[in-house]
Symmetry: C2
Subunit: 297 residues, 2 copies
């Protein structure tokens, strides 16, 4: 069971980042309104906002104010939303549903979905480079650099490419792990590290948060595979059991349920160990590790 403080922090960040996104996304008007509506539809969807939570909590460790850390969180959620919009396309994972609603290319059309994804990715960098995110331009440039590396060909895009290219192939545990580290791990790691960059953290603190989020991201993915197997589509808001039906290798198919659970638990412990240098202000991040492996959706 998650503590009340943890639940409250999670809910408050989700509400805060939703508000911030609503404020930062352009308003639909003019003949280009359609793509802006699609951006808003794809980004303002009441997701769990787990990456936003990590960025916000990471920044809190260095006493950053909410306004700035929610801008960072919003930029990260724009990149996450863009990746879902593009991954759902018919030529990619061909998913008609996302969080219980038609995916963007179903609610609009394919061209609009491609463009809305492009614009969300672009907006993320615009948010970070804006002086409102931090008065120190070096912080802004460092955030852009970190996010672009997490998102690019050696990050999320590379991971999705491997995932697509290995459909029907039996990936071994090593390549499967690397695929997930690129596809989802890189952005999760940047989320925490971004909070540290925003907070002018020391290199060692920044490195510790990166290592924490790295292990956490992998635990998150294993838990995802377990949920996908056990889960019902309604709770997940997407088609459950899809990886299995597509014959994709998952941590579950490779390790079996018992070893997969043990591995997720080990990674969560490992993640927490990286937080040793922080005092009780990191308790929420410690709790996030057990939340990740025990979540139901």
């Amino acid at each position: 069971m998650a503590s009340l403080a943890f639940e409250k922090a999670l809910t408050e960040t989700a509400a805060g980042v939703e508000r911030t996104l609503d404020h930062l996304l352009p308003r639909p008007q003019g003949p280009e309104a359609r793509v802006i509506e699609a951006m808003r539809y794809g980004a303002l969807n009441g997701g769990k906002r787990f990456r936003a939570f990590l960025a916000h909590q990471g920044a809190k460790l260095f006493a950053m104010d909410d306004e700035r850390s929610l801008r960072l969180a919003a930029a990260i959620e724009c990149v996450h939303a863009y990746s879902l919009v593009h991954d759902d396309l018919p030529c990619m994972d061909d998913d008609d549903m996302r969080r219980g609603k038609p995916s963007v290319h179903r609610a609009f059309d394919e061209a609009t979905a491609v463009l809305a994804g492009d614009a969300l990715l672009t907006l993320a960098f615009e948010i970070l480079a804006d002086p409102a995110t931090h008065e120190d331009a070096r912080v802004r440039a460092d955030l852009v650099l970190g996010l672009s590396r997490a998102a690019g060909a050696l990050g999320m895009v590379g991971g999705q490419m491997i995932d697509m290219a290995s459909a029907g192939e039996d990936l071994a545990i090593g390549p499967l792990t690397r695929m997930h580290q690129l596809k989802t791990g890189a952005l999760i790691a940047f989320s925490c590290e971004g909070g540290a960059i925003l907070g002018h953290a020391s290199p060692s603190a920044r490195q510790a948060l990166h290592a924490y989020a790295h292990d956490l991201g992998l635990a998150y993915q294993i838990a995802d595979d377990l949920l996908d197997e056990a889960g019902d589509s309604a709770a997940l808001g997407k088609t459950a059991g899809k990886d299995k039906s597509q014959g994709k290798a998952t941590f579950l198919t490779i390790l079996g349920e018992e070893r997969a659970r043990a591995q997720a638990s080990l990674l969560a412990d490992q993640a927490v160990a990286h937080l040793e240098m922080f005092d009780d202000r990191a308790d929420i991040l410690r709790e996030a590790a057990s939340f990740v492996i025990n979540r139901r959706a």
Copy 2:
């Protein structure tokens, strides 16, 4: 006829930016090699590199060294290349050929083309945010901000959305002009202005270059419409007469050939007038204006 100095500058910048892109693009390796090959295929294609030329010449006015200004030029060409890769997709303009070769989704596949475009867009921001582009972080953050605005929903993406949404519709001259200002004008304007940002130009010099490129970009588009009507597909490297066959409004269909030519010429003169504050170092940019309206491909 373009002067030898102009031809030389154009050729040298094109070669320099091709070299810089080759250096900055990742090398194909690992299981994600396919998307990197597609990025390189889409970006290293020996295009005219007109945007790179503007950025390079803009930066030269402020005595920036080639290495930095070619990094800026490469980032801009990454964004241009990404937009072509995505615009050519079947769900967008459905173009099978680009510069005389199969477009990326034909040479690879649709999913890889979506991902390669995503990665090229992301790489542009990574290049600009890297300390190698400028030691002053404020310059780097300003470049990211300017490029993201030119590329986003109120720039290139918005323009492409309007272009898609108005297929089969008779746009009036006002909306058509705005569509092109967003779709191609915003990046052309940023190209020149980016050189000024890189060179720590005064606000008035920066504004002058922005205004120059704004008018130049529109002249470029009108010339494009004239070429599309007159041109043969071989010289253009793409399907000529496509706009006409799709019943799209162009400057040519609205204004007629004579008035379209007069308008392009007027805009080119207007562009040159904005360069008054610069001495003869801006002569190449002055010549670019007549090059744009007299080009054959």
